[in-house]
């Protein structure tokens, strides 16, 4: 599976829908969501690093981390990141190690870009 090229890190429609949930902004929903994503990433990435560092990579952890990131990123409109997570989750589930480190590196890169883009929204 190839990752579709994306010119936009965040899907504007998804962002629109997010804003609709808190139209006046009084609940500071967007900020809380971005914050939650940030927290989630901060919690997950060390787990992922540990799993990769093992002699035999822990595929279960990899799968769980990518599963969670898959849906979080989709919710925020980070469709490219979500798609990559989906891809990695499937590789981990199927035990395909081939190219996995590269994919994971690319994912980490994507995450950094998404975090920047999200920060820009606030």
């Amino acid at each position: 599976m190839t990752v579709p090229p994306s010119t936009q890190l965040l899907d504007p429609e998804a962002i629109l829908r997010l804003r609709e949930l808190d139209p006046t902004g009084e609940n500071k929903l967007l900020a809380r969501v971005v914050n939650a994503f940030s927290n989630s990433v901060d919690r997950l990435l060390p787990e992922l690093a540990l799993a990769r560092a093992a002699a035999v990579p822990d595929l279960t952890v990899i799968r769980n981390v990518t599963h969670t990131l898959k849906s979080s990123s989709a919710s925020l409109g980070a469709l490219a990141l979500s798609a990559r997570c989906t891809h990695i989750e499937a590789m981990a589930r199927d035990g395909r190690l081939d190219g996995l480190p590269e994919q994971l590196d690319a994912m980490l890169h994507d995450i950094q870009q998404v975090r920047v883009a999200l920060a820009a929204l606030l």
Binding site: L18, L21, D22, A36, S40, N64, S71, S75, L76, A90
Partner: protein, 740 residues
């Protein structure tokens, strides 16, 4: 039930959602989306916390992420389902789009539904609302099922179904098992049910069942059975056929109900409605029913029906003297004896007479019943002729011959039996009853304790009597009753010393003799108003005569003993004499010796009071009764009247003059006046006078006359001293060197 859309609005609160997701972002967003759509959301990011919160938050629905670290969604759901009270809480499992395995696992774990994660919140909302609605419907169903079960339990009702051609196709609900005395876990198949039914009823039921199934018709029947604990119950069963898509019957569903109590109540009601509560015999209604059936059957079969009306003789006397309780006791015993005189059957099979009634089954109608009071009826559904019925009547009379022991003493009871036969004596129950009544009355009038078969002649007689009775009722108000007066003569001075008033009925142009209506008046009670009228009329006449010719003697009025028993008799006489301003002694009362003796104890107080106010008492028909001489010495009486039978034989038989002599001697010793009745010849007058009796009454002097004729008689006969008896009387007075 409200339409589906309304179901949610019926919730007392916004629907409560317990949202469980380890992904903070998703949790946050989903919660925000659902809150915006009116849900009350509790968020938690792991399974064990979710389980902890179940009780405190009492969610209406749980939304559960499938994949979570630690306790995942599947395990959480399984544990939730195992928690009492949450067996049917709707659980929506969130899965990924590409995760078919999760979907299957979700259902296995007991999830109600799954939902692929999406940021299309309205889809999630729609799914949740649908879940809540169906959950609510399900709850209502559960509640209604529970209510039904409770209601069925209370009504001792249950349901069952039978699937045709399926092994164990006969199923009884838990409530139904209870009806059969079994627990909810017990197995009870059709054979098991049949084993509880008595063999005869079982055969009948199975026949009915086969017939019902063959015709695909509805089964409605009552089944008697004996429960394992020995209780006898009646179970009502109703079942309807079930049809498959092709319209063929593939089984039956039905209800069953313990109707034992109702059946017993119905039996009791039927018993009360058709049987006499005192004797337990068929009552009037039941008798009418039986007689009508018997007549119907006789019409078809061309035979005769016998109806015996049995009336106890003088039952009233027993009731009055021994009390009603003893009277009832007596009726019970009589009922019992009468029953033994026929082939009495209490029970009649329902529907016995419809359709396939056998030739002889009308015999089952034979019975003795109680019409009411002391009247019984024996129905003989088939008799060869009247002799048949007479034989039964004789059995009845014989059965009563032995004394009946009630109220601490032996009672001798007799009956009068009237017989009427269908078709000869009547076509209907009413005709037969009326004519047997006529025959029964004929027996009564001829001395009772016998039976008689109806004949039209009897009816003619009865009819006359009925007409007479109704006319007599009106006679008083129409002024048809008059008093005639017969003078009392003292032959020593050949003068009138009083008069006896005698009632006459001027009915149109005919004068009805007293013998024809006085007994009837006594029987019907009309004698009371008649006598009261006579007292008043006599007082009026006494006043008239005192004005016309200085009458100062008394007019004697005959009274039946029942009038003496009335406590207001003295008061009534007082009113009569006061109304016309005559003294009390202008009225004299005559009571026959028999009447007096019959009710002596009840009459004596009246006699004393009457005597005190100056009303004299005369004993009529003296010498004919069985009076003891002892009472004569104590009674406040003034006069005895020698009965006409002794007077008639005077000078013919020596015994008569001996009796008259004795009466005169007795009266003289007691200081009583003696007057002789029925004096018709000079010879009788002469003998009486010679024996010492100078007061007389009879045709020799005058027959009873209307008041104005009596006045004429005095004016034309007595005063001119122009009658043979006056000459003779004068002569005998001379002879006796009399005083006046």
């Amino acid at each position: 039930m409200p339409p589906p859309g309304q179901a949610l609005d019926d919730l007392q609160h916004p629907p409560r959602v317990l949202l469980v997701d380890d992904d903070e972002v998703n949790l946050l967003l989903t919660a925000a989306a659902l809150r915006e759509r009116g849900f009350d959301v509790t968020e938690t990011n792991n399974g064990s916390q979710a389980l902890d919160q179940l009780s405190s938050h009492a969610p209406d629905v749980v939304v559960l992420d499938a994949l979570m670290p630690g306790l995942d969604g599947f395990e959480t759901c399984s544990l939730l389902r195992a928690t009492p009270g949450f067996e049917s809480l709707p659980v929506l499992m969130l899965t990924g789009l590409d995760d078919e395995a999760s979907i299957n696992r979700a259902y296995q774990a007991g999830a109600t539904d799954f939902f692929v994660k999406s940021s299309q919140w309205s889809l999630l909302e729609g799914r949740l609302r649908y879940l809540l609605r169906s959950s609510r419907t399900r709850q209502e169903l559960e509640r209604s099922k529970a209510k039904l079960a409770r209601a069925q339990d209370l009504a001792r009702m249950g349901s069952f179904e039978w699937r045709r051609g399926v092994a164990h196709g006969f199923q009884i609900s838990a409530e139904g098992l209870r009806v059969f005395g079994r627990g909810p876990q017990d197995r009870l198949d059709f054979v098991g049910v049949m084993r509880m039914v008595p063999v005869d009823d079982r055969h009948v039921f199975l026949r009915v069942l086969r017939d019902v199934i063959a015709r695909n018709s509805v089964l409605i029947t009552d089944l008697p059975l004996t429960l394992p604990d020995g209780r006898q119950r009646v179970v009502h069963i109703e079942a309807e056929p079930e049809f498959n898509e092709q319209g063929a019957v593939n089984g039956y569903t039905g209800i069953l109900q313990d109707v034992t109590d109702r059946r017993q109540a119905e039996d009791r009601i039927r018993q009360l409605a058709h049987f006499d509560a005192l004797t337990g015999l068929p009552n009037r209604r039941q008798l009418i029913w039986r007689v009508e059936r018997a007549i119907e059957s006789a019409r078809r079969g061309g035979h005769e029906v016998g109806l015996l009306l049995i009336d106890l003789d003088r039952f009233k006397v027993i009731n009055d003297t021994l009390g009603h309780a003893a009277g009832d006791e007596l009726l019970v015993e009589v009922g019992c004896r009468l029953r033994s005189c026929v082939r009495h059957s209490d029970q009649i099979m329902e529907g016995m007479l419809e359709g396939g009634m056998s030739n002889r089954s009308h015999r089952g109608l034979e019975a003795v019943g109680r019409l009411g009071g002391d009247e019984f009826v024996a129905l003989l559904p088939e008799v060869t002729d009247e002799r048949d019925a007479e034989r039964v009547a004789q059995r009845v009379l014989d059965a009563l011959r032995e004394p009946i022991f009630v109220g601490g003493q032996e009672c001798f009871v007799t009956a009068s039996v009237g017989i009427a036969l269908y078709p000869r004596d009547g076509q209907t129950m009413a005709d037969l009853l009326r004519n047997s009544d006529v025959a029964m009355y004929a027996v009564k009038s001829q001395g009772r304790n016998a039976s008689a078969v109806y004949s039209p002649q009897l009816a003619g007689h009865g009819k006359q009597k009925l007409e007479l009775e109704s006319a007599l009722h009106k006679a008083l108000e129409r002024n048809e009753i008059v008093l005639h007066y017969q003078p009392k003569i003292d032959v020593r001075g050949a003068r009138m010393v009083g008069a006896e008033a005698l009632m006459r009925w001027q009915r149109g142009n005919t004068l009805v003799p007293p013998a024809d209506f006085i007994p009837l008046a006594e029987e019907t009670g009309l004698i009371v108003p008649l006598s009261e009228w006579a007292l008043k009329e006599a007082a009026r006449q006494a006043k008239l005569w005192s004005l016309q010719f200085g009458f100062s003697d008394s007019i004697a009025v005959n009274l039946p003993s029942r009038l003496f028993e009335r406590t207001d008799l003295v008061e009534h006489i007082h009113q009569c004499v006061s109304a016309y301003g005559v003294p009390h002694r202008s009225i004299q009362l005559e009571i026959t010796e028999n009447n007096l003796m019959k009710d002596l104890q009840n009459v004596i107080p009246s006699l004393h009071r009457l005597n005190e106010v100056g009303v004299e008492i005369s004993i009529d028909d003296f010498g004919t009764g069985y009076s003891s001489l002892a009472y004569l010495t104590t009674l406040p009486i003034s006069e005895v009247k020698v009965d006409r039978t002794f007077v008639r034989d005077l000078g013919i038989t020596p015994q008569s003059s001996a009796v008259v002599t004795a009466i005169i001697a007795l009266a003289r010793a007691l200081g009583l006046r003696v007057i002789a009745e029925g004096v018709e010849t000079l010879r009788q007058m002469e003998v009486l006078h010679r024996l010492g009796c100078s007061l007389m009454q009879g045709f020799l002097f005058s027959k009873p006359l209307p008041a104005d004729e009596l006045e004429r008689w005095i004016a034309q006969t007595v005063l001119p001293r122009k009658a043979p008896w006056i000459t003779q009387a004068d002569a005998s007075v001379d002879l006796a060197r009399g005083q006046r």
